[in-house]
Amino acid sequence: MSSKYKNVYLQESATVVGPYEKEGPLSKYFDKKYDDLYCGADSWEKAEVKLLKESLNLLLKKKGIKKEDIDLVISGDLLNQITSSSYAGSPLNTPFLGIYSACATSIEAMILASTFVDCKRKKNVVIATSSHNMSSEKQFRNPTEYGAPKPMTATFTATGGASALISAEKSSIKVESGTIGRIIDYNQKDPFNMGAAMAGAAADTIYRHLTDLKRDVDYYDLILTGDLGKYGKEILKDYMREEYKIDLSKNYNDCGVILYDTDKQKQVQAGGSGPVCSALVNFTMIMDKLKKKELKRVLLVATGALFSPTFVYQKENILSIAHAISLEAVE
């Protein structure tokens, strides 16, 4: 289920973030930062659209291309009917694919884009994703001003829009291979412990990626999961060791704990989450380190919880999925 790509490169990326990400340790990497969660819009949902729209415009500007040069936009987000993506993608007036795999969306988009580019069906493919802390809270949990107490395992939806350009033109970052995840059900029911719900999917995808491509875990300089958070990270390490005899203690980390300083930013609880969480780390710091050759081979594993409040209230398990893509610094 893993496939290698011959001629796919990650060209450029653009990120726009909200106040909590601005305060976080990756602040210097973001292209545009807002101090206010409304970001100048008049509702949380419109703020999310604005963040995504701005990141798409910035991407074109940074790469110096026009919207006519884009052959396809693949985008997804958390809001019902992935509306943020549609409203943000609309002004580009390009062919558009809307996708959903919750917080694994950015990697799903990258796999699709790489496949289109590798079989030469499309030239320039833009992948994009967004999430907004308040629009997600409103949709999935309680009213945003309610401030309901949450357990320590709860994660904090990141606010931002992120996009990247993928094409066959040679650049310093090669998209080397990808693994499409399976839907995993480990009998998890707690929507305030997404790390536990998703760690099983990450384990399955990492294991299958390594076995499919006959690679050792040391092959990668860094394996990075999307948004498992403080506790989910430990669950993944333990489970990988016990179930698959794979030791992740040396080269593994999680975007959810990189995006925020979990010691100083107490409100993020167990760490960041949301589709944009992994994208804000992967499209900035990780791409930067690959360009500077500080990292040579990276495996990005974005994890998504496939559920809705309705199904949780109807006592169904929380399903999860993880997609993986491997990036390499080009010599």
């Binding site: 008049d42 509702s43 409103k138 309680n142 009213p143 945003t144 001003e145 309610y146 401030g147 309901a148 107490p149 357990p151 320590m152 395992t153 480990y186 009998n187 998890q188 412990n193 536990a196 760690a199 099983g200 506790y231 430990e234 669950i235 333990d238 489970y239 016990e242 179930e243």
Partner: protein
């Protein structure tokens, strides 16, 4: 069978990495803050009784209106959620929590308009409280009639 074993192993690892919540600390904070709200309520009742020369039951109604007003104002000004995150049940259980649940929902859904937004969502959280409050009031009323003859 195999799936069950995997699930069991996974469940063990999950519970191993479940942090212990500070239940005692939370309970203590809620107890103190809730108590302070109670003291504030009683002070208001006494104040209304003596200042306006009204009966205790009338003063209680005025006290509730005052607390609802204060809580709703704090929610609207945007800092009551931070207080709730800290004091938890200390502010959610008293009448302040009820007011807060309605105001916060109203703020959230105001952009969807007065009917489909604010109107249909204002009782999103408070609806359960009202429904089960009325049901249990009826239930305890019956018990009171049966035992004490309604006195």
């Amino acid at each position: 069978m195999v799936i069950n074993m995997v699930n069991k192993k996974y469940e063990q690892i999950v519970s191993k990495h479940k942090p212990t919540e500070h239940r005692e600390q939370n309970a203590l904070v809620a107890f103190i803050v809730g108590g302070l709200v109670g003291i504030l309520g009683e002070t208001l009742i006494q104040l209304f009784c003596h200042k306006f020369h009204i009966s205790r039951s009338e003063a209680s109604v005025c006290m509730m209106i005052t607390l609802i007003f204060i809580a709703s104002l704090c929610t609207a000004l945007g800092f009551f959620d931070n207080l709730v995150s800290f004091a938890r049940c200390g502010l959610l259980i008293p009448i302040t929590g009820f007011a807060h649940s309605m105001t916060s929902a109203a703020i959230d859904y105001r952009k969807e308009g007065p009917i489909y937004g604010l109107g249909s969502n204002i009782f999103k959280l408070a609806g359960s409280v009202i429904l089960y409050g009325v049901v249990s009031a009826w239930f305890f009323g019956i018990i009171r009639i049966l035992i004490g003859g309604g006195a």
